[in-house]
Subunit: 207 residues, 2 copies
């Protein structure tokens, strides 16, 4: 079914893929295995709910680099690392780059499942944050340039007549744009407009 959480397993050791894959499938996860980081990267679909479990040392593209590549590609895929040999600096870099966990092989089932549990939670948070941001940006995209311009002034707390002065027009025109902004964005108070703008990263706090 579609509601399963997918685990993308990337490891050049087929034995690991098999063993971990079996464990996770038994737990109800949808598992997709890759023996090469490139294969994973090119076929990767950020829309699928899930997390990635990456081997640290792989030929060509190591786990860390793969993590960078993912985030550079705009994906917020949650990542769990597996490593064969102890290496503190690497674990520090991975965690600093936002990894969920950094586990050593042979991996303890409990630890791995706990990490995946955290990944599920993080993934859900990312998705809900993105959904809300996406809906805001979609509505913002419906505004004409002039309307957006008026909006930033309104969010900055300026009066219609001041906005009119700044934009080289008259108060009446500003009122019209302002009304259209409120209606297009589906908000009914300036307070809501300010919060919406805040989430979209529109900084109105200019003195």
């Amino acid at each position: 079914m579609d509601s399963a959480f997918t685990v993308f397993l990337v490891d050049d050791d087929a034995g690991v893929l098999k063993a971990v894959g079996r464990l996770l499938r038994a737990r109800g996860y949808d598992v997709r295995s890759f023996t090469s980081p490139q294969a994973f990267l090119v076929s990767h679909d950020a829309l699928i709910r899930g997390c990635a479990i990456l081997d640290v040392s792989m030929p060509d593209l190591d786990g860390l680099a793969l993590q960078q590549a993912l985030s550079a590609g705009g994906s917020q895929r949650s990542v769990i690392f597996l490593t064969g040999k102890d290496d503190i600096p690497t674990s520090v870099r991975a965690m600093r780059a936002g990894a969920i966990d950094f586990l050593t092989k042979p991996v303890n089932d409990t630890d791995l499942l706990a990490a995946i549990g955290r990944a599920e939670k993080e993934d859900a948070e990312h998705r809900s944050a993105n959904a809300s941001l996406g809906s805001i940006q979609a509505r913002l995209a419906m505004l004409t340039p002039r309307e957006r311009e008026v909006m930033t002034h309104v969010v900055a707390g300026r009066l219609n007549k001041q906005i009119a002065g700044d934009l080289g027009t008259v108060e009446k025109t500003v009122k019209v744009h302002r009304g259209r902004v409120m209606s297009k964005l589906g908000v009914r108070s300036v307070a809501d407009l300010v919060r919406l703008a805040e989430k979209a990263g529109i900084d109105g706090s200019r003195p």
Copy 2:
């Protein structure tokens, strides 16, 4: 002088304290050394600009526990760990708990100084965020209970007459409170008020 950045060195090995202390003092840092975590904790002053460099394994209270104790005490002191023996799970927990870095002994001077550099940056960010939050809360504390109540409704985007209905009073009274809120908080537009409330964690986005 007072503008120096202080490094709190905590390690039960006096040799480490001496060696690292010398290095850092030569770089212009104000160094305070502690051979016991307790001694550091009881004399700790969160107001001092600086960071802590903690040994991971210490008697009674290990580095991780000390980090927890610091944050449980409300301090946001930036922490850098030093460890004698490799231990990935520990480094992962430390990083997840917000450590700046997790370095292995013997520590490389460059790495240590780089970590302290990041700590300086993080400390400055914490302080400016706290200062801004503190000033907001100080102003918020000047409001009477009724004024705060009116404020939450205003931030929620409600009209004066609706607020009056909710509070069982008349519109005129709400206007007065509202005016006093704006003046006490030093804001001149609802937009600014909303942003201020947002920073203070007052959630006005109730449908």
